[in-house]
């Protein structure tokens, strides 16, 4: 997934090979991660796709099924991976993820601690941010979940940047070997306040901590425990509003076309429209999508006080 290996980096000449991970794109909300295997097939509502047809094509190509329907094959990125990964837990999405990376000031070479690993959605983006010389140590108390995460990181090619440990961070704290080593710490735990003292021990001076909690009561208790050793304590909520873009006619008269105002561009037949009346030319318009996430979680950030 990451261009650490120049031979794997996407380019005009980089073609899909046996064993590559590809994101099969049907629609912006229907995607699937697939490992290319010479003698394998993909079957979906569009028909049967032979992997062998894919090999040798560049990433970003359109490929056809036996029924003549098509999908696109994309190179995986952490953003696409977040949309296709198997949910073993509730996951973080792009708005929270990108804000966390920015606010934790993670740059190449950083050492980052994370708990819990969950489905590894954030971990993949953390790995991208610390590459090529940094490292992410992520912990989950669930042995199987940790094992699945390890497999995922192997598959997405970030395993050299991520170490998954099985440990009850809330109960036992982070391992002592990281004392004073961490540039940033990320907590997604039910009772994060129990881990604040340990997180403080792990951080370098002025290092940043982030705690993600869905409930305000969790935030309340976390902030109280942060006040003794941390400063610059700030809590945010971030959401994304997405827009749909359509081309349609805005007519002056009401009875023209049966009131079918903005219709999707695909459905709109340009040749069928009467081009003579200029005032009702097809306009491209945008409006916010009707459905949106109302809440994901609160992000609380704090800096370790500088005492030396």
């Amino acid at each position: 997934m990451l261009p650490t290996d120049p031979t794997k980096k996407i380019s005009f000449t980089r073609c899909i090979t046996d064993g590559d991970l590809v994101i099969v794109y049907e629609r912006h909300d229907v995607m699937k991660a697939i490992k290319v295997c010479d003698d394998s097939i993909l079957q979906n509502r569009f028909g049967v796709f032979k992997h062998s047809d894919w090999i040798g094509k560049p990433f970003g190509s359109k490929v056809f099924s036996n029924k003549g329907k098509f999908v696109y094959l994309l190179a995986p990125t952490p953003e696409l991976w977040t949309l296709v990964l198997s949910h073993r837990t509730q996951i973080l999405y792009i708005a929270d993820i990108s804000f966390v990376i920015m606010y934790l000031e993670i740059v190449p070479g950083c050492l980052v601690l994370e708990s819990g690993t969950g489905s590894g959605s954030l971990t993949t983006s953390l790995a991208r941010a610390v590459a090529p010389t940094g490292h992410v140590y992520t912990f989950d108390f669930h042995e199987q979940r940790a094992a699945s995460a390890r497999q995922d990181f192997e598959q997405t090619g970030v395993s050299s940047l991520v170490t998954v440990g099985v440990r009850d961070i809330q109960g036992d704290g982070f391992p002592d070997e990281f004392s004073g080593m961490a540039d940033s710490v990320f907590l997604d735990l039910p009772q994060p306040w129990l881990t604040i003292p340990s997180a403080g021990k792990m951080l370098k001076q002025d290092g940043v901590l982030c705690s993600f909690s869905p409930c305000i009561e969790q935030v309340q208790r976390t902030c109280e425990s942060l006040r003794s050793n941390f400063t610059d304590i700030r809590t945010f909520e971030i959401l994304l509003r997405t827009y749909e873009v359509r081309q349609g006619k805005m007519d002056g008269s009401r009875d023209n076309g049966g009131g079918s105002l903005p219709c999707k561009r695909k459905q709109h037949s340009i040749e069928g429209s009467n081009e003579q009346d200029n005032q009702s030319s097809a306009a491209v318009m945008a409006r916010p999508c009707g459905e949106a996430k109302g809440h994901t979680g609160y992000l609380t950030f704090a800096r370790l006080k500088c005492l030396s």
């Binding site: 792009i94 090529p132 370098k204 006080k305």
Partner: protein, 464 residues
């Protein structure tokens, strides 16, 4: 498991301790004033009507807090170590129910304070510390005890800001630079809020070893943020229309090592397109008109004054010590010619960034394509740029385009759909709300930014 060498290497952009010549962000009185500057022997900071040397800040960890104290030769900045009493004493959940005082007896007649201006001046002459003046003001306030606990705290903070100002030493990172500009001069960065910037970087898949095509008309903030994520690998190729490169002066505020600066290049879009079409492009490394100062060599003799972006809300007089005062006048980071500088100021200058790309790099991009495109050009129609720049991307390369207006992005998205140039097209707008979290007093902040910009993202597809 891992090593701590990062700490001791001043050229590493992740150093946590300041050094001579390092760029810093000074946060005065909890965000009231934000000043970018360089730590040199001669640099000073004007607080109130006093000039304080920044020398005491050299060698201190980022995150340190300083207070203005009266020294033998005028005011000096002294390290203030946080003590237990600094933490606002929170007495728990029942605090509000115990509060019996209210403001019924407070009359705003300006008679509550018995200490006069002369008294305070006299205290100062006798060497009283700022904190002592604040305590004296509280002791001499007839109404302080009648105030509620919250309003007592407010009073204390107000007096502390005036009589015992605090300076917080911050690392200039994409986060802090973007926040500082957004707070004080949002128009200079095209109203690009920090959450929108972070989304751009994610959506464009910026990571080490990638070759990023950048269209930056936000003063270099975007180029700097990309370079920060590249960490001295890959390339941030800042491109522009026409002959005049866009300013990337904000790049100098980052503490970039020369490895990172070398990876920031600038090329007109015509050069990149020519390279795309197989024509060789003349590169002349010496004609960088808009380049930053010329680096002499490894010697530290080359010097520049402060490129002080003072994002100061109050007006500071700048003529006192022109080349060292962090004044609010030259926020646009004027390039100070070396010759006008006093030879006394010597420090390691941030190496140059924004050279022309090498012939090899151009060849590489022509053969492989860029790994992503990231744009923040709020003054121009995005489609105008995108139609030329998108073909320079590898197939399956992601792109993210910022704009402060929705309509140009809508048109751009529509054209990309019609031209079947990209898939996964989406326009998103981030919404960010900060919370006050206090025992029994948690609520969203009363003021928030209502708008942080729009982003069009997508993935380039192979046309074949």
């Amino acid at each position: 498991m891992s090593q701590n060498k990062i700490q001791s290497d001043p050229s590493n952009n992740n150093s946590r301790v300041t050094w001579e010549g390092c760029s810093v962000l000074l946060d005065i009185n909890d965000g009231d004033r934000l000043v970018f500057g360089r730590l040199t022997a001669a640099s000073t900071l004007k607080i109130g009507n006093k000039n304080c040397s920044l020398q005491p800040l050299v060698g201190c960890p980022f995150g340190s807090l300083f207070q203005v104290d009266n020294g033998k030769e005028g005011p000096v900045l002294c390290r203030a170590l946080p003590s237990k009493e600094d933490e606002a004493p929170e007495k728990g959940e029942n605090q509000i129910s115990e509060e019996l005082r209210d403001n019924r007896a407070i009359v705003d007649d300006n008679k509550a304070q018995t200490l006069t201006g002369e008294d305070i001046d006299e205290m100062r002459r006798q060497g009283a510390k700022g904190d002592e003046i604040v305590e004296a003001l509280i002791a001499n306030s007839a109404t302080f005890d009648k105030k509620t606990a919250f309003s007592q705290e407010k009073y204390r903070i107000k007096k502390q800001k005036k009589y015992a100002p605090r300076v917080l030493l911050r690392r200039p990172f994409a986060r802090s630079i973007c926040e500082a500009y957004f707070k004080k001069y949002p128009n200079r960065i095209g109203f690009l809020r920090v959450d929108a910037l972070s989304l751009l970087l994610s959506m464009a898949n910026i990571t080490a070893n990638s070759d990023v095509l950048v269209a930056d008309m936000v003063g270099g903030l975007l180029t700097g943020a990309v370079a920060e994520r590249l960490g001295g690998t890959g390339y941030a190729c800042s491109t522009y229309l026409g002959d005049t490169p866009n300013s990337i002066d904000i790049v100098r505020i980052f503490n970039f090592s020369s490895e990172i600066c070398k990876r920031i290049v600038r090329a007109p879009s015509s050069d990149l397109s020519l390279a795309q079409n197989g024509t060789s492009v003349e590169t002349n490394p010496h004609e960088d008109v808009c380049n930053m100062e010329i680096q002499s060599n490894d010697q530290i003799s080359s010097s520049v004054g402060m490129e002080d972006t003072s994002l100061s809300s109050e007006n500071v007089v700048s003529d006192s010590v022109p080349e060292t005062t962090l004044s609010s006048e030259n926020v646009v980071l004027d390039i100070v010619p070396e010759t006008t500088l006093s030879p006394a100021i010597k420090f390691c200058k941030a190496p140059k960034a924004g050279e022309k790309p090498s012939q090899e790099a151009l060849k590489l991009w022509k053969e492989n394509g860029f790994s992503s495109l990231i744009m923040a050009a709020p003054e121009i129609d995005p489609w105008n740029l995108v139609k030329d720049l998108l073909p320079l991307l590898s197939y399956s390369a992601p792109f993210a385009i910022y704009h402060q207006y929705l309509q140009p992005l809508v048109t751009c998205m529509h054209n990309l759909q019609i031209g079947k140039m990209a898939i996964g097209l989406q326009i998103s707008e981030p919404w960010l709300r900060e919370y006050q979290v206090l025992p029994s007093r948690t609520h969203p902040c009363m003021q928030m930014s209502g708008f942080g910009g729009y982003i069009l993202s997508g993935t380039r597809i192979s046309s074949s």
